[in-house]
């Protein structure tokens, strides 16, 4: 894991001290709310419905146990004992007091954490494959490149006041676990025919009111040229992006209006004019790469007797393995997905005690490595198969062994109207109702992969556009209604879902999902996921079933 150096640490301490002064000046009236608001947002502090919310950066979703324990301690000391992991792989605390925020930033800085670039029109936290350094599918470790982007983009003066916020994702294998194509820039690590490593560069994806799947503007960018190419893209955006209309200010609107070809041409022209001067020197890249060198994996047999025995004797463990444990690149190890979607609980929430359990497991059994996924779950990427029964038992005791990764109850939900000042409708209770309805684990496994994503407003923090079934909360004269979309995907087969029909009242949503699941089960052919069946049949049979009683 990358460790901050003296300069980084001094910078974080200075930044926290600066914010302490800003908070003091606000509380004493030396500066107005209008003057203070952009300053607090630069430190991830929002004012929401019930309190302030502090959004803490978890760079490329990577944490060590010390950091997670600190987050648990903050949850217990300054919040109500829990935190909410987001689709940007950050962590939000929803009950923060303004007067406490400077102290919290000091505590975060003590473990190399902060809330910088979690808000504002800057380059935000990069999303990376949460299985980085663990999956056999990986072409290169995306954390190396994400860390390079973090260092290049942090407080970059040229890109601190972009037309709008800017999000980058890096996927490192054919299977995309980052929703790269719906980021402002999606990077897919690839090898060309000569075996050289580089990136496919996709630009102009995004969700919100005008969702787009980002087109590819360069099929293969040599890896060493990444930073200069990103800089060229940002320069074109900074120059031509709309600043007159906030709703048209994202790069997706620019790319769509110019066309991908013309946008790409302008980037290439800028890039050529820039030359390689701003690319990372090989020595610096090597320094960053060394920070992610794998810790010593043991040489183990691929088959673990303890693991196999537990699978044979404990059906709950076997189910957990089927759904939550993924193949590791090293024989005798597994990738463990820790679901934060216990049935009936709030998606993405973890209590302080749960954070401490995961920190302990990461330390004892997981090489000090913990990841956050954009689907609001956690990952222990390096667990020995021999240790898995013990890890599973500890997770189960803490309510963290729900065996539902990628299943119907593994639902993304934004905080919605329960917390968010911008929301139209609640998202959390809708997720809870659906999860309860599909509580039967046998049925959930029978249904298979089905991604439901819920947003409480059109800003789409809950990624509803790319849900196999998306649910958008809308405000009908002050009442909560929910619009369903079908056929979205945030994976390598990215697509934007289409609206199924008129919005439904809250008490009909779970029932409508159930109706569509029954249509799918009746129509599916061998091996088809819900999404595959839907793409084959079209939405008509689903629409007909959901709205049958309306006609």
């Amino acid at each position: 894991m990358y460790r901050y150096d003296t300069i980084d640490k001094e910078f974080l301490a200075d930044r926290a001290a600066e914010f302490r002064g800003q908070v003091t000046r606000r509380l004493t009236g030396e500066i107005t709310e209008d003057q203070f608001k952009p300053l607090r947002l630069m430190n991830g502090l929002y004012l929401q419905l019930h309190a302030y919310m502090l959004r803490i950066a978890i760079p490329y979703g990577s944490l060590n146990p010390t950091q997670l324990r600190k987050l648990a301690w903050i949850a217990r000391t300054y919040d109500k004992g829990y935190g909410h992991f987001t689709t940007r792989t950050n962590l939000q605390f929803h009950w923060i007091k303004l007067a406490d925020a400077p102290d919290i930033l000091d505590h975060l800085a003590s473990v190399d954490m902060h809330a910088i670039q979690t808000s504002g029109n800057c380059i935000r936290n990069t999303t990376a494959d949460p299985w980085a350094g663990a999956t056999p599918e990986e072409i290169d470790d995306p954390r190396v490149w994400s860390e390079a982007i973090r260092q290049w983009s942090s407080l970059h003066p040229e890109f601190s006041f972009l037309p709008r916020k800017f999000k980058i994702a890096i996927t490192a294998s054919a299977k995309d676990r980052t929703a790269a194509r719906v980021h402002d820039i999606g990077l897919a690590i690839k090898r060309n025919r000569q075996g050289a490593m580089g990136f496919e560069v996709m630009v102009g994806g995004g969700l919100g009111a005008t969702p787009y799947v980002g087109p590819t503007i360069r099929e293969f960018l040599p890896a060493a040229r990444l930073v200069s190419y990103l800089e060229a893209i940002l320069r074109v955006y900074n120059r031509l992006g709309r600043r007159d209309n906030r709703t048209k200010a994202r790069i997706k609107i620019l790319v769509a209006s110019l066309g991908a070809e013309e946008f790409g041409r302008q980037v290439e022209a800028e890039w050529e004019a820039m030359g390689p001067g701003s690319d990372l020197p090989d020595t610096e890249l090597a320094r960053i790469r060394a920070a992610f060198a794998p810790t010593a994996f043991e040489t183990l047999p691929a088959r673990s007797a303890a693991f196999e025995a537990a699978k044979g004797s404990d059906p709950a463990f076997a189910r957990f393995v089927r759904n939550n444990v993924k193949p590791h690149k090293i024989p005798g190890y597994g990738i463990v997905e820790v679901s934060l979607k216990a049935i009936g609980e709030t998606p993405g929430d973890a209590t302080a005690e749960q954070m401490e359990v995961i920190a302990d497991l990461g330390e004892r059994y997981g090489q000090d490595d913990i990841r956050v996924t954009h689907e609001q779950n956690l990952v222990l990427p390096h667990v020995k198969l021999d240790d898995l029964p013990t890890v599973h038992a500890a997770l189960a005791a803490a309510g963290l062994a729900t065996p539902n990764i990628n299943l119907i109850s593994d639902i993304i939900a934004c905080p919605g109207l329960d917390y968010c000042a911008l929301a139209n409708a609640r998202a959390i209770p809708v997720a809870q109702h659906i999860a309860e309805r599909f509580r039967d684990q046998d049925r959930a496994e029978l249904i298979g992969e089905l991604k439901i994503k819920i947003s409480g407003c059109i800003n789409a923090c809950g990624h509803h556009h790319v849900g196999h079934i998306g649910i958008l909360g809308v405000d009908k004269k002050g009442e909560e209604f929910y619009q369903l979309t079908l056929g979205g995907s945030g994976a390598e087969d990215a697509s934007v879902g289409k609206v199924l029909g008129p919005a439904l009242p809250a008490n009909r949503v779970a029932e409508a999902i159930d109706t569509m699941v029954e249509v799918y089960l009746a129509q599916r052919q061998d091996g088809e996921r819900f999404l595959d069946t839907l793409r084959r049949t079209g939405a008509a049979p689903f629409k007909e079933a959901v709205y049958a009683d309306v006609h």
Binding site: R26, T28, L47, K80, K97, L98, D418, G478
Partner: protein, 121 residues
């Protein structure tokens, strides 16, 4: 009927106006009747000068719910109660007849607080 609400600057707590001071419980909020329009607007105007106490004060419409008045907008009822996923968090934790009445109120209207927020963005 209307009430005046804001978030307290120091901790973000939802507060309500009551004759020159800010209180945390909706049950203690000063209610402005239909004939008190000028007083309500004067209170809002004054609240906007209390910039070291509160953030973004605004008037909310109320509706009769049983024997009490409740915020008309669902968003405002949530602010007066707390999140629905944690019933022991927020003002609702204290319980009581007013909290219960707010939980069962059924009015609906767009929240002026949200509309103002979107305009400011």
């Amino acid at each position: 009927m209307r009430a005046l609400t804001a978030n307290r600057l120091a901790d973000g707590e939802v507060v309500f106006w009551n004759h020159g001071r800010w209180v945390e419980r909706f049950a203690e909020a000063q209610l402005f009747g239909d004939g008190d329009g000028a007083a309500a607007e004067a209170a809002e105007g004054h609240a906007k000068t209390e910039t070291t106490l509160v953030v973004e004060p605004y008037l909310i419409d109320l509706i009769e719910s049983g024997e009490v008045w409740a915020p008309l907008s669902y968003r405002e009822r949530l602010r007066a109660l707390g999140p629905t996923n944690h019933h022991h968090h927020g003002k609702q934790a204290e319980g009581g007849a007013i909290v219960e009445a707010l939980q069962h109120a059924s009015g609906a209207a767009r929240s002026k607080g949200r509309v103002d927020l979107i305009k400011r963005k």
